[in-house]
Symmetry: C2
Subunit: 426 residues, 2 copies
């Protein structure tokens, strides 16, 4: 896109309190633009803020947030979006339920208070609506006309839906062998959906090529050239959890790890809340959860390595099947710094955990939710997660999108008669 | 169940402002209990209230509601539930999004403001969570230990999930040929799920038999012997729509018609809001929407009949496939009294409407949502629905549960290369 268009968009009001992009590795600062890698050291860029907030008056900010809309825009003062963001057409995700999970806690032996942050309540039923909502605002600011992404499924649906409502063309890329629910959902919004013969990592590489090609002119790839903005959406998970706990940081949080971005942004969000005085500065532990069939970060953590060695994914948890996770090293840092851990569970344990969450709390999670619940169980059993502390487990997606994972069906099929029912012996 | 147990449960606090059941036909009053038909005239029983509310001060009640939780329990003072209902384990449904649908309005030619009440945001992604939540409280009060229902699918999932979380056994009955998504969702919560070889009407008849049999002892059938309580959950749709419009009744509401219960309770809810002074008393029109393949109420409306002649359903809108709708005659009354109508659309129009809603607003509705949007379009085209008035269309379910209805898939499947993408011509 033309430099001119970018320059006109980088006035402060369009991005709210965001003032620059800064390199996570070397600290280099660049103006807000559709760039994602540091020109100096190739490190990832992230959004830097100058929060224009009531100085020394966190109570006023809390009240302002609490009076906001029941979606992520209540946190607009902490996000790279204009103050009037809620007036633009978007899906208004967020403010999903934080479910007090006493039945599950009893089964797991957690006594300090267990909660499930259930992001299946988002518009397209995954946490991806949060990150896409922020990316849409950035795409608008930069004058992009097509929204795109590489996706393991949930993101494809979120981009398709958000683009439809916000008036963008969309063209999204997925591995060709995704679950039917995710494919139909990605296609139904009327944008282009392209299946790529390969893994997610192949899809991702292809999208990086496309950005550098004239074919990709005017395209905002939410998780590539808009990635710094996109990533900020995950901070809202941290904000909501704390607000829903009465402006308190939980002792322990269990987060799924695909690229690792979500976990790092939850940490960033918690640090912001502390810096702004919105919550008490107290220790917290962040745990990462992977499927054994795609566990490069877990393997590195358990092996004591700093380097995350890419793997070829083989797991039913397709939404977490990123073999070369961009933010893997940062996940390791955060787990180690906070006293957390990264752990993985087998596909069989994932399915068990999906069923456990369903029968205890009435929440039907997708495989990624089975991963976090399964890892929570394992961490308690291994004495790594402290059952006497307040713990929040993330469910980031919806069981209706991964139906094949749980082979659930009728207990019995009978004729409509009492005799037949009696014979079924239920 | 023992009469004793029933009597002990009918003290006022357990049912909040509810004081009796009254017959919709003859007005006969009976104590609150697990009964659903009038002993005098066999008419349906519904909940009667004595609202203990600040006299002549609707503003105080509005403030009390607005300060309540972001779910149906904010309306506890208007429901047959105890004041502390939110402390019991349940799924806390409701307060779903009322989406301003400007893109859809442009396509339909509606200029007076068009909104979609999107109940796919509920915990099990259909409006059934609302009615089940109330029925669970009644089941608790009456000492039932098993929750049951006859279901076209959505209700089965809602009962299974609510029972799991609230600590009931569940055993639910569905036609054997439902959509995969609905079957898996109904089964995953760990209760018993019984497929019946027959239509929904066969399932319903079977459940009525089971209630009279010792096999059904201690069972609360949410839509049979708990039906008067269950039905009240639909009132919350009316409450929320009005509150979300700034305590204003919309001019026109388009509601799907299966048994017809939802439409009648929305009317009841609106009348209560008027009586309590929470909204201005102004005219409103209620429109019923059916699929052509199961349109007994629509046929009666268009034929000018008072009697609804049962049909054998044949439509992809399985959640509306009730051939012998219990509340059909009341739907006719309400449509005629309010200046509304009842209309139906073909299965092809249902699919078109699902795609229309998805590509304009990013909302992926189940077939029932296709029915209401399709009927809205037809009513505008025929000059029956006034496009210059504020209109609310209900989407009561989730497209992920009726995937087969929309044959959506990738635009192209390609190798991960720019050449292959160029050749695809997108």
């Amino acid at each position: 896109m033309a430099v001119q268009a970018v320059e006109s968009a980088i006035t402060r009001p369009v991005f709210g309190p965001a003032v620059a992009l800064s390199c996570r590795e070397c600290g280099e600062r660049v103006p807000l633009g559709p760039v994602f890698a540091c020109a100096v050291c190739f490190g990832p860029l992230e959004v830097a803020y100058d929060f224009d907030l009531p100085a020394g008056d966190p109570e006023a900010l809390r009240r302002r947030i609490e009076a906001g809309p029941p979606n992520i825009w209540r946190y607009a003062p902490l996000l790279p979006v204009p103050a009037d963001v809620a007036d633009s057409p978007n899906l208004n995700p967020g403010f999903t339920k934080l479910v007090r999970a006493d039945n599950l806690a009893r089964e797991l032996g957690v006594t300090g208070g267990l909660y499930v942050k259930d992001d299946s309540g988002n518009p397209t039923h995954s946490f991806k609506d949060r990150v896409v909502a922020i990316a849409v605002e950035a795409a608008r600011a930069f004058g992009f006309t097509t929204l795109s992404c590489s996706s393991t499924g949930n993101l494809a649906g979120a981009v398709g839906a958000a683009a439809a409502r916000a008036g963008f063309r969309s063209c999204v890329f997925i591995p060709h062998d995704l679950e039917a629910g995710k494919v139909v959902m990605a296609a139904v919004y009327g944008g282009d959906l392209v299946g790529i013969e390969g893994t997610y990592d192949d899809v991702n590489r292809f999208c990086s090529e496309l950005i550098g090609d004239p074919l990709g002119e005017g395209w905002g790839f939410v998780n590539v050239n808009l990635r710094p903005y996109y990533g900020e959406g995950s901070k809202t998970l941290a904000y909501e959890i704390c607000e829903q706990l009465g402006w308190r940081i939980p002792d322990q949080i269990v987060v799924p790890v695909a690229s690792g971005s979500q976990l790092t942004k939850i940490d960033k969000g918690l640090k912001e809340l502390i810096a702004l005085g919105l919550v008490e500065d107290r220790p917290y532990r962040i745990f990462g959860a992977q499927a054994a069939g795609c566990s490069p970060v877990s393997q590195a953590f358990k092996g004591g390595h700093d380097v995350v060695r890419p793997v070829k994914p083989d797991t039913i948890a397709k939404s977490l099947a990123i073999g070369n996770p961009a933010d893997g090293p940062y996940v390791l840092d955060i787990a180690r710094r906070t006293g957390g851990a990264v752990e993985d569970v087998t596909d069989a344990e994932v399915v068990d955990a999906i069923r456990l969450l369903a029968r205890t709390e009435g929440i039907f999670a997708e495989t990624a939710g089975g991963v976090t619940v399964g890892v929570t169980r394992k961490l308690v059993e291994h004495g790594v997660l402290d059952p006497s502390l307040t713990t929040v487990v993330l469910n980031t997606g919806d069981g209706l999108k991964t139906l094949d994972a749980v082979a659930a069906g009728p207990t019995a099929v009978i004729r409509p008669s009492l005799d037949a029912f009696r014979a079924a012996g239920l």
